[in-house]
């Protein structure tokens, strides 16, 4: 199914793991299919549907069967059997209120699942982007190391040829060694990023790493802030959750009101008495048929604690709904300005910072090889070049992440790269 590939990493980087290239579309599909937390959340739908079935239950009838003996055996007073059926007739729409509540909770489970996927999709995308970024950072450091390593080898030869001092040769070798340590550190971070994808992908194999493929050039969008806020208020599943919580609290209130209505107990039964042989008043056998009702006196209703709880919970849900509305607006505006800021930073890099840094480094190395400049200046140029490149990729990542956060906040999704 999946195939291992040979990556273009230098030999000092451990490539013993099987690595599988994966693009974003396939990755997201696998997350939706295999993520265990998401799969667990899906069971909430089944549980909610089961609760609807439970809510539909009518009270069970009770069947009674008994035997009695009138005693007085000497007088032959006889014996008998009785049997009956009792059933509680729910009044006040309790069953309907229960079903409405269960339906609302089932709907809530759907919204919660949507919201969970909204966050999962964004978190999975951020994980994917972080792995891409860490891969690029590793490339920068390993390239820098290779460059410095070549320089150190060259310096070693130049020292033997007495072109440079031994101190300069040692210095370049030392710098190369330090850079290799940085490479190892970046490699560990990269692998950790890949490993963190296991959790999202629901992967059990510990010898396989998924290597994200993509580029950071597809994250430019133009948004209108006011539209984003309205879209978020229309689309965000967590707002739907809050709204549904309001509905649920009102259904709980209706159920609490219904629970205060009395239920009627209906009973019917038959009693069979045997032949009564006593000499004073012999009686033939007979059967009695009876029917009756029972009405509870609900003195408990004078303490409306359940009703108060439901009422104030509904007010609480209303308040929380308004709070989430405000929170969403706040999140969207913040994410929007963050995105604009990152967009400007990326544009700043595109004005030529990278090529300038590369040109400076190339010039310093060339001059150093010709003996016109010191190693210190080369190292300084190298450090600057690395920092600019790292900042660039970090900014590209932050730009992409800002878009992810903005679309997460706005409840929209058009990210593909």
């Amino acid at each position: 199914m999946a195939k291992a590939f040979t990556q273009n990493k230098p030999e000092f980087i451990d490539t013993s793991f099987v690595q599988i290239k994966i693009d974003y579309t396939d990755y997201l599909a696998l997350v939706g299919k295999n993520n265990l937390n998401y799969a667990a959340q899906k069971f909430n739908i089944n549980i909610a549907n089961a609760q609807i079935e439970t809510a539909k239950i009518f009270p069970d009838p009770q069947i009674i069967f008994g035997y009695f003996d009138n005693g007085q055996r000497r007088m032959n007073m006889g014996y008998g059997f009785n049997s009956g059926l009792n059933w509680t007739l729910e009044l006040g729409g309790k069953r309907k209120a229960r079903i409405n509540l269960a339906n609302s909770q089932a709907e809530l489970a759907h919204y919660l699942l949507q919201d969970y996927f909204r966050n999962l999709r964004a978190d999975a995308t951020l994980g994917f982007l972080a792995a891409m970024k860490d891969n690029l950072l590793l490339d920068i450091l390993s390239n820098s190391y290779l460059q410095m390593s070549k320089l150190a080898q060259s310096d070693s030869i130049r020292f033997k040829l007495a072109s440079i001092t031994q101190v300069d040769a040692r210095q370049s070798k030392l710098e190369a060694g330090m850079m290799l340590n940085n490479v190892y550190q970046a490699d560990a971070q990269f692998k950790n990023s890949l490993i963190s994808l296991w959790l999202l992908l629901g992967v059990k194999q510990t010898d396989t790493l998924f290597l994200p493929q993509g580029d950071f050039s597809k994250f430019e969008r133009n948004f209108i802030l006011s539209d984003l806020v309205i879209t978020a208020q229309n689309n965000r599943a967590d707002l739907s959750v809050a709204l549904q919580n309001k509905n649920i609290s009102q259904h709980i209130l209706q159920l609490a009101k219904a629970n205060r209505i009395i239920d009627l107990g209906i009973a019917t039964g038959i009693t069979y008495s045997s032949y009564d042989r006593n000499i004073i008043a012999p009686t033939p056998s007979y059967a009695q048929v009876g029917i009756g009702i029972s009405v509870p006196l609900k003195f408990s209703n004078n303490h409306p604690g359940e009703l108060k709880t439901a009422y104030y919970s509904s007010l609480q849900a209303e308040t929380q709904y308004r709070q989430i509305e405000l929170q969403i607006q706040d999140e969207v505006v913040q994410a929007y300005f963050n995105y604009l800021s990152m967009q400007k930073q990326v544009q700043q890099f595109n004005t030529g910072l990278l090529t300038e840094a590369q040109a400076v480094l190339d010039g310093k190395i060339y001059s150093y090889k010709r003996g016109e400049t010191s190693l210190l200046e080369v190292l300084n140029a190298q450090r600057t070049f690395n920092e600019v490149q790292q900042d660039y990729y970090q900014t590209l990542y932050s730009y992409a992440a800002a878009l992810v956060e903005l679309e997460r906040a706005a409840g929209i999704w058009d990210i593909n790269f």
């Binding site: 709204l243 509905n247 009101k257 205060r260 009422y311 509904s314």
Partner: protein
């Protein structure tokens, strides 16, 4: 004309594009807001509450039916004063709908005419003592006024009739309640239960007191003759029934609650 058509088409297209680009707040799932007023809250918390108290009063009771002269000397009866005492419970169902339950110790009776060969026709008092149970009477409450109706079932506790002996002296005869030794085709005795309906009206005074009046109408023949089938000429059903007018004062126990 073509120009106007083009402008209209362009306008429609612009409107469409605008509609596509400008999302509007839409919340089809929006539900109704919760009433937060104190009035609503108080009404809500009182829903289904139970009122209870005691009741006592005066009644005028009588009997009716086509067989009064079969048991007594003639068909003439008159209302007799009596009393009642008991407890009541009202369960709130809706804002103006309650279910009333009452358990009352109640005296009933009638003024009747008896006859014998010595005293001839004379007036007597027929008195019964019942435990009356009004299990479930739907009651409309509105601004302190209650109107209710429902069934009742009664258990006879005791009964008596004032007779005159050979000397003309009045004595209390309990044999009408029934006992095993009496010969039932001559001494009619009473059913041990009664069943009927009530129709009533009450007014809740401010705070804990209410006054009310009701009428009860029985449907069970209260006299019976168990040997009616055996002794020829006797009836197996004696059509005499209870009825009464009640005047009561009720006291509400759980708080000085003014009924809305």
């Amino acid at each position: 004309m073509k120009q106007i058509t083009n402008i209209l088409i362009a306008f429609c297209c612009c409107s469409f594009v605008f509609a596509q680009n400008k999302p509007e707040t839409q919340n089809p799932k929006q539900n109704t807001e919760i009433d937060t007023t104190t009035k609503f809250r108080n009404t809500l918390f009182k829903s289904g509450s139970v009122l209870w108290g005691i009741k006592a009063g005066f009644s005028l009771s009588n009997i009716y039916g086509s067989d009064i002269d079969y048991v007594f000397a003639n068909n003439e009866t008159n209302f007799q004063p009596a009393f009642h005492l008991g407890i009541w419970v009202d369960t709130k169902i809706e804002k103006h709908l309650y279910l009333k339950h009452e358990l009352l110790f109640n005296q009933k009776g009638a003024g009747v005419t008896l006859t014998d060969s010595i005293n001839g026709n004379y007036s007597a008092q027929f008195k019964t003592y019942y435990l009356d149970f009004f299990p479930i009477s739907p009651t409309l409450y509105f601004k302190g006024v209650q109107i209710y109706t429902g069934p009742y079932i009664s258990a006879l506790i005791d009964a008596q009739i004032n007779r005159k002996d050979e000397t003309g002296k009045t004595f209390i005869d309990h044999s009408i309640f029934g006992n095993p030794s009496q010969f039932e085709d001559k001494s009619k005795y009473l059913q041990k239960m009664d069943f009927g309906i009530e129709v009533g009206l009450a007014y809740q005074l401010p705070y804990s007191l209410s006054i009310g009046a009701k009428y009860t109408h029985g449907f069970f023949d209260i006299f019976q003759s168990a040997n009616g089938y055996i002794i020829s000429g006797n009836k197996h059903e004696i059509k005499i029934y209870n009825r009464a007018f009640w005047l009561s004062v009720s006291y509400l126990f759980n708080g000085k609650r003014k009924i809305e």
